[in-house]
C-alpha cells in the first residue's frame, strides 16, 4: 500500500494522537484540580469567567470555524440562556439541572425559528441579520420591564443548587463550570469528528459542491445554528449564576464582536484554541485594564495584528510549534 512507502507520518500520527490525548487528560486534570493549588479567590473567579467565555467561544467556533458562518450576533443565544435561567432561578427554583433544562428549552425554541430563517442566507447578509436578531433581543430586554427588569436587568439571582446543596461561589462554582466545560468540549469534539462535522466542513469549503454531493445544506446550517445557540445558552446560564444577574447589554453587538474576536484569536476550527484564547483574553483584560482604562484599544490592536499576521490564531501557532517539535523528534 502507498502508506507504507510514504515517510512514516501515519504511524507517527497515531502516537501523536495518543500524545494529544495525554495532553488533554493532563490539561483537564490541571483545570479541575486548580483550586487546590492555593490560588486566590480572585484568580479563581477570573478563571471561572474565562471558562464560561471559553464555552461560549467554542460554540461560536462551531458556527464560524467549522461551518464558515460568520455571525455578529452570537450574544443572542448566550444572553437568552442567561435571562431564561436567571428568571427561572429567581422565581421558581435554582436547582441547576432544572434551570438548565428550562433555559435550554427557551433557547432552542427561539433558535429553531431564527435558524430556519437565517439558514437560507450566507455571507455578509447572514452576519448582519444575525446581528439584527441580537439587537431585537436587546430591545426586548430593555422594553419588557415586567419580565426582564428593563435596563437594570435581573438582579439578585440566587446561587445554583445541585440536588439541594447550594453551590457556593468561588471554588465550588469554579469546579461546576470546569466540569461542564470538559463535558461540552468532549461532546463538541465528538461532533466535529463525526460525519456530521465533516459535512459542516464541506459546507464551509463550498456550499455548492456540498449540495452537489447530496448534502442538504439548508438543514445542516439550521442544525448547527441551533446547536451553537444551545451551547452558548449553557454558557449564559452559568454566567447569570456567577454574576447573580444580567442586563440587556449582554445582547449588545459589542459582546458578539468580542466573543468573535476571542474565537478567532484562539484559532478557528480547533475548539481548543478558542477555549484557551478565552482564558488568555480574560486574564489579559484584567491585567490591561488596570494600566489602560481604554482596554479596547489594546485588544483591538492585538486583534488587528492577529488577523493580519496570525490568522490561524493561537492554536495555529501552537499547532505549528507542536508539529515542528514532533517532526524533529521522529
Amino acid at each position: 500500500m502507498v502508506d507504507e512507502i510514504a515517510p512514516a507520518p501515519k504511524s507517527a500520527a497515531l502516537s501523536r494522537e495518543t500524545a494529544s490525548w495525554l495532553l488533554f487528560v493532563l490539561g483537564a486534570a490541571a483545570l479541575l484540580t486548580f483550586p487546590l493549588f492555593g490560588a486566590g479567590e480572585f484568580t479563581i473567579t477570573l478563571l471561572t469567567e474565562g471558562l464560561i467565555l471559553g464555552i461560549w467561544a467554542m460554540s461560536l467556533d462551531l458556527l464560524v470555524g467549522f461551518t464558515g458562518l460568520v455571525t455578529f450576533g452570537h450574544a443572542a443565544g448566550f444572553g437568552l440562556g442567561a435571562y431564561a435561567a436567571g428568571y427561572f432561578a429567581q422565581h421558581v427554583s435554582s436547582e441547576f439541572l432544572l434551570v438548565l433544562a428550562v433555559s435550554e428549552t427557551v433557547v432552542a425554541s427561539v433558535a429553531l425559528v431564527a435558524g430556519f430563517v437565517v439558514s437560507r442566507i450566507s455571507g455578509v447578509a447572514f452576519a448582519i441579520v444575525t446581528l439584527a436578531i441580537s439587537q431585537v433581543l436587546l430591545q426586548i430586554g430593555v422594553a419588557w420591564l415586567s419580565v426582564t427588569g428593563g435596563m437594570d436587568g435581573l438582579i439578585g439571582v440566587p446561587l445554583p443548587k445541585l440536588f439541594g446543596v447550594t453551590v457556593e461561589s468561588g471554588k465550588s462554582l469554579y469546579l461546576m463550570v470546569a466540569v461542564i466545560l470538559v463535558l461540552v468540549y468532549l461532546a463538541l469534539l465528538r461532533l466535529t469528528n463525526s460525519p456530521f462535522g465533516r459535512t459542516l466542513q464541506a459546507i464551509r469549503l463550498s456550499e455548492q459542491r456540498a449540495a452537489a454531493i447530496g448534502i442538504n445544506v439548508h438543514l445542516h446550517k439550521w442544525l448547527v445554528f441551533v446547536i451553537s445557540w444551545l451551547v452558548a445558552g449553557i454558557a449564559g446560564t452559568l454566567l447569570v449564576f456567577m454574576k447573580a444577574g444580567t442586563t440587556p447589554m449582554v445582547f449588545n453587538w459589542y459582546e458578539s464582536g468580542y466573543v468573535l474576536a476571542v474565537t478567532i484569536f484562539g484559532g478557528l476550527g480547533t475548539l481548543l484554541g478558542p477555549m484557551i484564547g478565552a482564558i488568555v483574553v480574560t486574564f489579559l483584560h484584567d491585567q490591561v485594564i488596570s494600566l489602560f482604562t481604554a482596554w479596547q484599544f489594546v485588544f483591538g490592536l492585538a486583534f488587528v495584528l492577529a488577523v493580519i499576521f496570525f490568522p490561524t490564531g493561537l492554536a495555529g501557532v501552537a499547532i505549528r510549534i507542536w508539529s515542528r517539535w514532533w517532526n524533529t523528534r521522529s
Binding site: 463525526s194 460525519p195 449540495a211 452537489a212 454531493i213 447530496g214 445542516h220
Partner: protein, 254 residues
C-alpha cells in the same frame, strides 16, 4: 429508434429565461441506458444552463425532468443526488483543503446517508474508506490519493471531480466540460474514461471538443442559441447541414 425501454433521463420542453434573455427554449433530450449522450453547441448556446436546470441549481421556467420514470423537476440538488442524478462542474470545485481520498470518502459517506451521523468517528468508517479506495483504484489514481486538493494539477483536479461523482453511484452522470483546459493527451485519457464510465451508468456529456465528442458519443444533441437544431447519431450529425453551418466545417470526419 430504440425499443421501448425506460430512459434513465428525459428532458422535455425545457425553457429558461434570464430577465429578457431566453437562454434555453423547448429543449428535449432522451438519454438511453449506458449511452454517452453529448450536448454540444457554440459558446453561450445554453448547455450549462440546461445542466443547471436538470441538476437542481436553477429552476426551469417550464418543462420536465424525468429521472428513471419519476418526475424530478425543481428538486433541490441534494435530493437529486440521492435519487442518482450526479453532476460535475465546469469550474473545478473540489474541496481544496482536503486530500483526494478525503474528498472521495466525503462523497461516499454522503451517499451512505451519514451526513447526520454525530456518533461515529468519520475517519473510521470502513465502508467509506473501502469504496473510496475502489473508485480511486478504478480510475488509476491511487498514488496521488494523499495529495491535497489545492495542490493538484488542473487535469488531476478534473479526475478527482469524476471520482467524487462516481463515488455517489450515479444512475445518470452529467459531465460539464470535463476536458476543458486539458492537454491533448489528458483529454484523450478522459475520453476513454467517459466510455468506461458509460458501462456503469448513463452519461450526458457537455463538451466543446467536437472531434472527441464525435468519436465517443452514442447520441449527440446540438444546441444553438438555446434551441435544439439537430440530434441523432454522430455520423448523422456530422452530415447535418444546419450543424455544419453552425460550426463552419469543424466537423469534417474522415
Amino acid at each position: 429508434m430504440e425499443p421501448l425501454v425506460e430512459h434513465p433521463l428525459l428532458i422535455r420542453d425545457l425553457t429558461k429565461s434570464f430577465g429578457g434573455l431566453r437562454a434555453v427554449e423547448g429543449v428535449n433530450i432522451e438519454l438511453c441506458p449506458h449511452h454517452v449522450h453529448s450536448l454540444i453547441g457554440p459558446n453561450g448556446a445554453g448547455k450549462t444552463t440546461v445542466l443547471n436546470c436538470v441538476s437542481g441549481f436553477l429552476r426551469p421556467d417550464t418543462g420536465q425532468v424525468v429521472l428513471g420514470g419519476s418526475e424530478v423537476t425543481r428538486w433541490p440538488p441534494h435530493r437529486l443526488v440521492a435519487a442518482g442524478l450526479v453532476r460535475t462542474f465546469q469550474i473545478t470545485t473540489i474541496f481544496a483543503e482536503l486530500t483526494v481520498r478525503e474528498n472521495v470518502e466525503l462523497a461516499v459517506r454522503s451517499r451512505l446517508g451519514r451526513n447526520l451521523d454525530v456518533i461515529h468517528q468519520a475517519s473510521r468508517i470502513r465502508q467509506a474508506q473501502d469504496e473510496a479506495e475502489e473508485v480511486l483504484g478504478w480510475l488509476g489514481f491511487l498514488e496521488k490519493a494523499s495529495g491535497r486538493g489545492d495542490q493538484l494539477s488542473h487535469g488531476d483536479k478534473r479526475i478527482v471531480e469524476v471520482a467524487i461523482a462516481l463515488a455517489l453511484n450515479p444512475k445518470v452522470l452529467l459531465l460539464d466540460e470535463p476536458m476543458a483546459g486539458m492537454s491533448r493527451s489528458e483529454a484523450e485519457r478522459i475520453a476513454v474514461l467517459v466510455r468506461r464510465i458509460a458501462d456503469k451508468t448513463s452519461v450526458v456529456l457537455v463538451e466543446h471538443d467536437t472531434e472527441t465528442v464525435l468519436s465517443i458519443s452514442d447520441r449527440i444533441t446540438v444546441l444553438v442559441q438555446g434551441r435544439v437544431i439537430a440530434h441523432g447519431a454522430p455520423d448523422e450529425i456530422s452530415r447535418d447541414a444546419a450543424v455544419r453551418k453552425a460550426y463552419l466545417g469543424a466537423l469534417d470526419v474522415e
